[in-house]
Symmetry: C2
Subunit: 356 residues, 2 copies
Amino acid sequence: MMKQSITSLFGIQYPIVQAGMAGGPATPELAAAVSNAGGLGTLGAGYMTPADLEAAIHTMKELTNKPCAVNLFLPEVFMEDSVRTEKMRKRLAPFRSSLGMEQASAESGYQSIFQDQLQTVLDAQVSIVSFTFNSPSTELVGQLKEQGITIMATATSVEEARQLEAEGVDVISAQGSEAGGHRGTFIGEAEDALIGSMTLVPLLTDAVSVPVIAAGGIMDGRGIAAAMALGASGVQLGTAFLASAESGAHPLHKDAIFQAKETDLKLTKAFSGKMARGINNDFMEQMAGEENLPPYPIQNALTSDIRKQAAIQGKSEWMSLWAGQGAPMATRLSAHEIMENLVKDYNQVISRMPPF
Amino acid sequence: MMKQSITSLFGIQYPIVQAGMAGGPATPELAAAVSNAGGLGTLGAGYMTPADLEAAIHTMKELTNKPCAVNLFLPEVFMEDSVRTEKMRKRLAPFRSSLGMEQASAESGYQSIFQDQLQTVLDAQVSIVSFTFNSPSTELVGQLKEQGITIMATATSVEEARQLEAEGVDVISAQGSEAGGHRGTFIGEAEDALIGSMTLVPLLTDAVSVPVIAAGGIMDGRGIAAAMALGASGVQLGTAFLASAESGAHPLHKDAIFQAKETDLKLTKAFSGKMARGINNDFMEQMAGEENLPPYPIQNALTSDIRKQAAIQGKSEWMSLWAGQGAPMATRLSAHEIMENLVKDYNQVISRMPPF
């Protein structure tokens, strides 16, 4: 079936989206550089306070007048269990001690900032918003459409893609199992929705009539050509930009990417309570056996300042080193050079495809 | 880097290999039909007795004069633990009782038939042999090369691919995480080598100079085009042929494929002690918590007659319903029609690839 072109939908030159990697990597500088090079840059705003988000959008808009997206984490229902949370606080105490941190108080917890982030995005007149971790409500979709905002959201299965389309999402990002960072699964268990891009992309392309963007494992022109062959209307790359000059990833995080073998990119719930893919390290191994991990966002709040302190002290073994399985193919080039290579290599790859 | 063409290496028309699905599906009829249609058919001989193998090769050669391959399981080192084995025998007793089977004796166990299978293949003058579960020894490679046999073997990581190349393997099959049936991992843990085809294919293509064939998640012309874009010299499809007219898969196995959602294709060690992907069912769920599973091939031997009896009694919940994540895209067409569609669709897909 003929799908709407995402270049015309987003107003961009190339159907290449830079993933909104939250927690540092997807800076305003990275997003603007990708957009200036003809792709769609995305601000990774998942964890940003409204004030930081406002400043970041301002910076991004100063650096480019091209379209950019903002990525937000949709709130989800979760069960609090104060006994379990308290056990985890105790379990994490030795990490804090070892880093010279004060012990966490029972009050320090999680508070959703989504509504304030959303208001900031609406006030700043952002034209494209992408969501993950859930399906936007009919009300939220209506609110965004009223302002003419194009909505993108992440699916990890056919059922999720159909729900997103039914809610009115304009573009679906198909997150293959190769992808780095958090899984976007919101129906069923993340363990069951680890579908490789080779299968997920054609399945989702067939299942919905809106454009599908392939995300997961795409690192170069070969991957883009593969995704387009599978029926994708475009691609989303995170890890390919993670070690770029403009990425805000911690220098140790960037270094780790170049040490990692593809078998080191493991799935873990240890850092946040939600399954995510990153470079295996001591924290993941120490926490591997934990049976009573609080769910996201509780566990994320419990480990957040441990990871921040570990980053300050240069202890990458206790940082969350999110990255996709394609990490061994990452480069330290500038976002502009990466974009140039992607386009050039893609055109070369498709010009060489041998007919049978 | 320029790689040898697998069509000239194998003496076939299209770089499409049918996977040697052991235990029934990859019959002489299926292999011959694929080869007659211009691909490379493969006899799934992993579990065949030498006598059955000899007969199957004979049938295959009567049905086609085109090149065909035979797939064998390489022996591997495993630890026997008679206490654990006995515990598992007791754990499996209720399944046997429920099926009206006699209880297994402590003597019924596993005996390798590889050397006899190998001799059968050598005697029958098969021209192409493919291996999985291990790296062939230098001695074995020499023995096969002396007879002019082309050797293919499965890798699930860069390290494995490099070892296979160093041993003298001619073609490497890159088994992406999407693939159905047993994982071929032979270095490290299978859990760590679940790399999606989107990433595994370019990584392996770059890592070795021999041709790499993409296996895992490829179901149609789109998947073939994707694999070729990623740098593969060809493709290997199993699930795409699993429900074909010529497949020897049990009718209930074929039916289950058309009921399965992509999220139902789960990894399990329950049936064989080795990680494999199949359609989730009661046996997998009942055994999911088992901590002391004997390794392959012990567990395989322990459950083998239970699965056979379940198949006879039409109880698919206790059969091993191996299939890849692409199962929802499978068809019941003949192998000849599937091959025709693959070639036609591939050519259409590559003719439509839009330059950026």
